[in-house]
């Protein structure tokens, strides 16, 4: 599939790099003992360190370090046994220190990789440039007062991992797949909850365009995108804008832009000529962060199975299609549900029932998997009753609908509604005889070579049985009778 975009003057190649800010899952902040919990009252989760009172000193949270290493390992990245915290200096009302503690020259994690799968079945390896630890800033509320901004420092000092990709992405679709895959890995690892609505995962997207084979074009950076959809929309809008500007004889400026969700367009932020002069220097309050290879190896030994490995296992060992495996492994909860429902059973049938019937019903009801009225075990039992011939696949759909509605077990529903499949040869033969007797004209046509009518007889017999006849047996017995 070509990713080139058609313009007036020919085709353009899109080059995208992403900087993702992922909030580290931890109880307390990166350099202070105040809580990271979401939803506290204004300035309640703030210590005097976070408020940058004079004389306060930062002390690093060991769990945040561990989470960053773990994430680095999940991205198959180099872990740097020594890294350095720097001050990134700028002034803003929600940054009481006047600088953000970040890592500039010596990040904790170096180069890694992340593999994305696209809907056309292709997969692409995207380079990770680096991952570093840094502090989040506070939150400004601009809509509470006509001439004032309100500042809440609850987020101030919360640990973030900034994960920077190489400019390896070539389309909005790839960028969407990248953020989804990254989110999935973070959630499997338990290092970030991936909750984009609460701001736990935000992306800055760098976009440029060039003629295929030409050197890189000038890039723009669209900041603070907090949904997969907005990331993809902003890229499409920005690509379109850049091509129009260049083809109209204009020039792209390296600038920061904002995505306006109401218009679906990007617009330039008021340009601040000094905005990028951060005057980084090593934070004199913090010694270099060091740990041993042994510590890294211990964390590596405890890594959970990651979505890529799990997907490969589902394809190779369970015989699932690559697509089904991708759907079932995107969310860890889904994979766990599936493992529970399918263990000791026909893995493929369970996969089908989950990805078609269960997801369909959940979608329709607007429920998440966690809210599913059907438990993994209950779904597994339903599949058992299909595979052992108690009910047909057709009847199973009705039973499933009933289970979803009432939360009852499949066996109970089958029992109380008398839905058990008829597998008694005599009973089925009697039904077939009746169908043949009532449709003698069609029987003659069939015997004279109109093979297509076979389906009609199957249908009539199934109808007569109220859908409960064993379809395999109906087929077999009909063939014999119609000879």
């Amino acid at each position: 599939m070509s990713n080139l975009v058609q313009g007036q003057t020919g085709e353009w190649e899109v080059v995208i790099g992403m900087e993702v800010h992922a909030q580290v899952t931890s109880d307390s902040k990166l350099f202070s003992g105040s809580s990271t919990a979401f939803g506290a009252g204004p300035n309640q989760n703030v210590s005097l360190v976070d408020a940058a009172m004079p004389g306060m000193l930062p002390v690093i949270n060991g769990t945040c370090v561990r989470q960053a290493i773990k994430t680095g390992l999940g991205l198959k990245a180099d872990i740097n046994l020594t890294s350095v915290f720097d001050r990134k200096n700028y002034f803003y009302a929600d940054l009481p220190q006047g600088y953000q503690i970040s890592q500039f020259k010596h990040p904790i994690v170096g180069e890694g990789v992340l593999t994305i799968e696209l809907s056309d079945g292709s997969s692409h390896v995207i380079g990770i440039e680096r991952l570093h630890l840094e502090q989040d800033a506070g939150k400004s509320l601009h809509d509470q007062h006509p001439s004032k901004s309100y500042i809440d420092l609850n987020r101030s000092g919360v640990a973030l991992m900034e994960i920077v990709s190489k400019p390896d992405l070539r389309s909005a679709e790839q960028a969407g797949a990248y953020i989804k895959k990254l989110r999935s890995i973070l959630r499997y690892l338990g290092t970030c909850d991936g909750n984009m609505e609460e701001g736990s995962l935000r992306a800055d997207v760098n976009v440029s365009v060039r003629k295929p084979g030409a050197p890189l074009g000038t890039r723009t950076e669209t900041k603070n995108l907090n949904s997969v959809r907005f990331i993809m929309q902003s890229i499409d809008a920005e690509v379109e804008r850049q091509i129009e500007v260049i083809e109209g004889g204009g020039e792209i400026f390296q600038e920061t832009r904002l995505f306006d969700t109401s218009t679906g367009m990007t617009r330039a932020m008021r340009s601040k000529e000094d905005a990028h002069d951060y005057r980084y220097f090593p934070d004199p309050d913090l010694l270099p962060l060091t740990f041993t290879q042994n510590y890294v190896d211990q964390i590596a030994a405890e890594l959970p199975e990651l979505p890529d490995d799990l997907r490969v296992r589902m394809v190779n060992d369970y015989g699932l299609s690559s697509y089904d495996a991708a759907v079932l492994t995107e969310e860890r909860e889904t994979a766990l549900f599936y493992e529970k429902a399918s263990i000791g059973r026909d893995r493929k049938i369970v996969a089908n029932w989950m990805s078609v019937e269960l997801f369909g019903a959940l979608n329709k009801a607007g429920k998440t998997l966690a809210e599913s009225p059907i438990t993994p075990v209950a779904l597994g039992e339903l599949v058992d009753l299909i595979t052992d011939g108690t009910i047909s696949g057709r009847i199973a759909k009705d039973v499933f609908a009933d289970m979803f509605e009432t939360g009852k077990a499949a066996a109970n529903i089958i029992e109380s509604k008398g839905l058990k499949q008829v597998s008694d040869t005599g009973a089925i033969e009697a039904m077939i005889d009746k169908v043949i007797a009532e449709n003698q004209d069609k029987v003659d046509e069939y015997r004279n070579g109109k093979d297509k009518l076979f389906g009609f007889f199957v249908g009539q017999t199934m109808k007569l049985s109220g859908g409960q006849a064993n379809p395999g047996m109906v087929n077999q017995l009909l063939k014999n009778k119609l000879k």
Binding site: S34, I60, N61, C64, K148, I151, D274
Partner: protein
């Protein structure tokens, strides 16, 4: 490297420090004196010397991930010129 009056103006603005125009010349001189001292340090051969971050021999202290602070909103906002319902209130800063 040499600092001129314009550089003084720029770094003063970046640091949000007001410097009167007639002070720039003198400050440029002071900064240049510091820079020439650093240039002198740069003549020392450090090719085979590990960077030194501390002379105490300590490594970075690390704390456990425990909530041990917070819930001191009153103290946090005590010095603010203006507050409302627990927020700091500042002149509107918005893009």
């Amino acid at each position: 490297m040499s600092v001129d009056n314009n550089t003084v103006k720029k770094i003063a603005r970046l640091a949000r420090i007001h410097v009167d125009e007639d002070r720039r010349e003198a400050l440029a001189g002071e900064l240049n004196a510091i820079l020439s001292w650093i240039e002198q340090l740069e003549t020392v051969d450090t090719d085979n010397v590990e960077p030194l971050a501390s002379v105490t021999g300590h490594s970075l202290p690390i704390r456990d991930d425990m909530v041990s602070d917070g819930n001191r909103q009153e103290q946090v906002i005590a010095n603010a010129p203006e507050t409302t319902s627990g927020f700091f209130v500042v002149p509107k800063v918005v893009e």
